[in-house]
C-alpha cells in the first residue's frame, strides 16, 4: 500500500519537474515566497478574528467584569473582590454549587457505569445486526435536544398520570411525587440527564474496547480467566486511558448542566435543583447583576480548569498505557 503511493507520487513529481523546466521563470519563485508570508493569515483571518471577538474578548471581559458592579443601566463601578465575597456567602449560590457537585457525582457515576457495562455487553460475541441495533439505540438520545427530551420526560414523570408511576404501581410502589419534592426532582433531573448522555460515554468505551487486542483475551482465557474476572483483570486496566478521558469529559459536561433542570423544574422546588449555570443565568438576566454573574462564571471556569489539570496529573500516575 505505502509503496504504491510513493511510486505514484514519484512519477507525478518527475512529470511536474519536467514541466517546470519548460515553463516557470526563476523570478516567480521569490514573489511566490513573499506572497506566502501573509497568505497563512488570509486562511486564518475568519477564525482568528471571529474567535478574538466572540471568545477571547468575552473571556477577558468576564474576568474584568467580575470585579465590577454593573446593572447595564448605570455606569460600572470597581468593587474589587466584593462580588466574589458576596457570591460565596450567598445561600442560593452555595446551594446551587452543592447541588451541581452532587449532581455531577451521581450522574457521572451512573453514566459511566451504565455506559461501560453496556459497551462490554455489546462488544462481546453478538449477531452483527443486533450489535448495530443496540449501538444505534444507545446513541439515539444524543441527537435529540435536551429541551425536547425534558419536555416529554416531564409528562412521563407526572405524579398522577405519568407512565413512570403507572409502571411502578405494578411492582407495588405507590405514586412517587417526582417533580413536587426536592429529592424526587433531583432524581428526575439526574435520570433524564443520564438517559440522554450515557450514549456519549458508551461511544468512547466502544472505541476503547475495540482497541484492546484479542490476543490479550485469548492469553487470559488460557490462564483460566472467565466472564467477569476476565473483564476485571484484563478489560478494566487496559481500558483505563479511555475511562479517564470519558470521566473527565462527562464531569466537565455535567458541571454545565442547564437545559434539563430549567425545563423540568426551573430549579425548584425551592432551590433543590438549581445549578451553577442556572444562577449565572438568573443573576445576569433576571436580576441584572452582571458582575456577580461573571464572578460565578469565573469560579465555575476555575473548577473546570482544575479538573482538566488533574486529568493530566492522574493520567501520568494511574493510567496503564500499553
Amino acid at each position: 500500500m505505502s509503496t504504491a503511493t510513493t511510486g505514484m507520487s514519484t512519477k507525478r513529481r518527475n512529470g511536474a519537474g519536467s514541466k517546470r523546466r519548460n515553463g516557470a521563470a526563476p523570478g516567480s519563485e521569490t514573489t511566490g515566497r513573499q506572497r506566502q508570508r501573509w497568505l497563512p493569515w488570509a486562511f486564518l483571518a475568519p477564525t482568528i478574528l471571529g474567535m478574538g471577538l466572540f471568545t477571547l474578548v468575552p473571556i477577558v471581559a468576564s474576568v474584568v467584569l467580575a470585579f465590577f458592579r454593573w446593572d447595564i443601566i448605570s455606569a460600572p463601578s470597581f468593587v474589587g473582590f466584593d462580588n466574589f465575597a458576596e457570591v460565596v456567602q450567598d445561600p442560593t449560590v452555595r446551594v446551587s454549587f452543592l447541588n451541581t457537585i452532587m449532581f455531577v457525582v451521581v450522574a457521572v457515576a451512573l453514566q459511566l457505569g451504565l455506559a461501560l457495562a453496556l459497551a462490554i455487553m455489546v462488544q462481546e460475541k453478538l449477531p452483527a445486526w443486533l450489535r448495530v441495533f443496540f449501538r444505534s439505540a444507545f446513541f439515539f438520545p444524543l441527537i435529540l435536544s435536551a429541551a425536547s427530551v425534558s419536555i416529554f420526560m416531564r409528562y412521563l414523570f407526572n405524579e398522577q398520570f405519568g407512565v413512570v408511576n403507572w409502571l411502578l404501581s405494578f411492582v407495588g410502589i405507590p405514586a412517587v411525587p417526582w417533580l413536587t419534592t426536592p429529592a424526587g426532582s433531583a432524581a428526575v433531573v439526574i435520570l433524564v440527564y443520564v438517559w440522554q448522555n450515557f450514549g456519549f460515554s458508551f461511544l468512547l468505551f466502544i472505541g476503547g474496547l475495540a482497541s484492546i487486542p484479542t490476543e490479550t483475551y485469548e492469553a487470559a482465557s488460557i490462564d483460566g480467566a472467565t466472564g467477569w474476572r476476565k473483564h476485571l483483570h484484563v478489560t478494566l486496566p487496559l481500558l483505563s486511558p479511555t475511562t479517564l478521558v470519558a470521566s473527565v469529559m462527562a464531569i466537565i459536561n455535567a458541571l454545565q448542566v442547564f437545559d434539563q433542570p430549567y425545563v423540568l423544574t426551573r430549579g425548584g422546588p425551592g432551590d433543590s435543583t438549581r445549578t451553577a449555570v442556572m444562577v449565572i443565568f438568573e443573576s445576569a438576566f433576571q436580576r441584572l447583576e452582571f458582575g456577580q454573574a461573571s464572578a460565578i462564571g469565573v469560579i465555575l471556569t476555575l473548577i473546570i480548569m482544575a479538573i482538566t489539570a488533574a486529568q493530566f496529573r492522574l493520567s501520568k500516575r494511574f493510567v496503564f498505557y500499553q
Binding site: 503511493t5 517546470r20 497568505l39 477564525t47 429541551a147 466472564g227 454545565q256 473546570i304
Partner: protein, 295 residues
C-alpha cells in the same frame, strides 16, 4: 503483523476445544441480549410514547394504560400545533440559524485547519494552543460579555446574534487540522512544483480531499445548534426570532399547561431533521463526537 497472526494461530491450535463452554457461552449470550433489550426499551420507550401520544386525540393524552404504538393515528394534534404555534416560522428560524452556522463553520474551520496543518508561519504553535485553550471555557461563562457585545453592535434580538458568534469554531479547526495532517503532504509539493499558487493548491487539491472532514464539522454543528437552548433563550427576545426548542418550551408553559398531545406533536416535528441526520450521517456524527479523545 505476521508474528501476531502466527501467535494467534498457535493460540487457537493450543486451546483445547471443549464442547461444554460453548453451550455455556450461548446461554450467556442470550442473557446479554435480554439485558441489552431491556436497556433499549428504556431508551426507545419514552420516544415511542411521545410519538404515539402525539397521534392520539388530545383528550386521551393522559389516559392510562399509555399507548406505545400508534395503531389508530389521529392527526388533530398536528393540526393544532400549526394553529397554536407559528411552527413554520420556528422551523425556518432554526433551519436558517443552524444551516448558516454549519456552512460557516465548515468553511472557516477548513481554511484555518489547513493553515495550521500545511502552512508555515511564525507563532503557529502558540496560536494553535490558544485556539485549543478556548475550548476549556464553557460558552455559558462568556454569555454575559457576548450578550453585551451583541447589544453593542446593534444585533440584539436578531438571528444574526445567534449565527455570528457560533461560526468561529475551535473544535472544528482542531478537527480539520487533524484531517489535513492525515492527507499526504507530497500532494501539495507536487502541485507547488506544477506552479499552482498556495490558494490553488488548497482549493483544487486539498479542499476536495477534505470534504469528509468538513462533512463531520457540518453535521456536528447541525446536531448541536439545531438542539441548542441556552443561547437562544438569552439572545432572542421576541417570539418571531425564537428557534424550535425555545418555541416548544414556551408552548409547554411554566406549569405544563399546554395541551400534551399538541406539545408532543411539536416535539416529534422538531425531531425529524435530527432523525434524517441520524439515518444518513450517524457514522460521521460518531466520528466527530469522539474525535480528539485519543482514539
Amino acid at each position: 503483523m505476521t508474528t501476531t497472526s502466527t501467535q494467534r494461530a498457535a493460540v487457537e491450535r493450543l486451546a483445547p476445544q471443549r464442547p461444554a463452554p460453548r453451550k455455556k457461552r450461548n446461554w450467556s449470550m442470550a442473557g446479554r441480549i435480554v439485558l441489552l433489550l431491556i436497556a433499549s426499551v428504556f431508551i426507545l420507550g419514552p420516544v415511542l410514547w411521545t410519538l404515539s401520544t402525539s397521534l392520539r386525540p388530545p383528550a386521551e393524552s393522559f389516559q392510562l394504560p399509555p399507548s406505545f404504538l400508534p395503531l389508530n393515528p389521529d392527526f388533530s394534534s398536528y393540526d393544532q400545533v400549526f394553529k397554536q404555534l407559528n411552527i413554520m416560522l420556528l422551523v425556518l428560524n432554526s433551519a436558517l440559524v443552524t444551516g448558516l452556522i454549519a456552512v460557516g463553520q465548515m468553511f472557516t474551520a477548513a481554511l484555518a485547519g489547513y493553515a495550521f496543518a500545511n502552512l508555515k508561519f511564525r507563532g503557529r504553535g502558540a496560536l494553535f494552543s490558544i485556539v485549543l485553550a478556548t475550548m476549556m471555557v464553557p460558552a455559558q461563562v462568556t454569555i454575559v460579555p457576548v450578550f453585551m457585545l451583541i447589544r453593542g453592535i446593534g444585533l440584539s434580538d436578531t438571528l444574526l446574534a445567534l449565527i455570528l458568534p457560533a461560526i468561529p469554531t475551535a473544535f472544528g479547526t482542531f478537527l480539520m487540522r487533524q484531517y489535513f495532517l492525515g492527507l499526504p503532504s507530497d500532494l501539495g509539493e507536487a502541485a507547488a512544483i506544477d506552479g499552482a499558487s498556495p490558494w490553488r493548491t488548497f482549493r483544487s487539491v486539498y479542499a476536495p480531499l477534505a470534504m469528509p472532514g468538513m462533512a463531520i464539522v457540518g453535521i456536528l454543528a447541525f446536531n448541536y445548534h439545531w438542539n441548542e437552548f441556552f443561547r437562544p433563550l438569552i439572545l432572542t427576545i421576541s417570539e418571531q426570532n425564537f428557534t424550535l426548542p425555545l418555541g416548544l418550551v414556551s408552548l409547554q408553559g411554566n406549569l405544563g399547561t399546554g395541551s400534551i398531545s399538541v406539545v408532543l406533536a411539536g416535539v416529534i416535528l422538531s425531531m425529524i431533521p435530527a432523525l434524517v441526520v441520524f439515518m444518513f450521517g450517524q457514522r460521521a456524527l460518531r466520528d466527530g463526537l469522539t474525535a480528539g479523545t485519543g482514539k
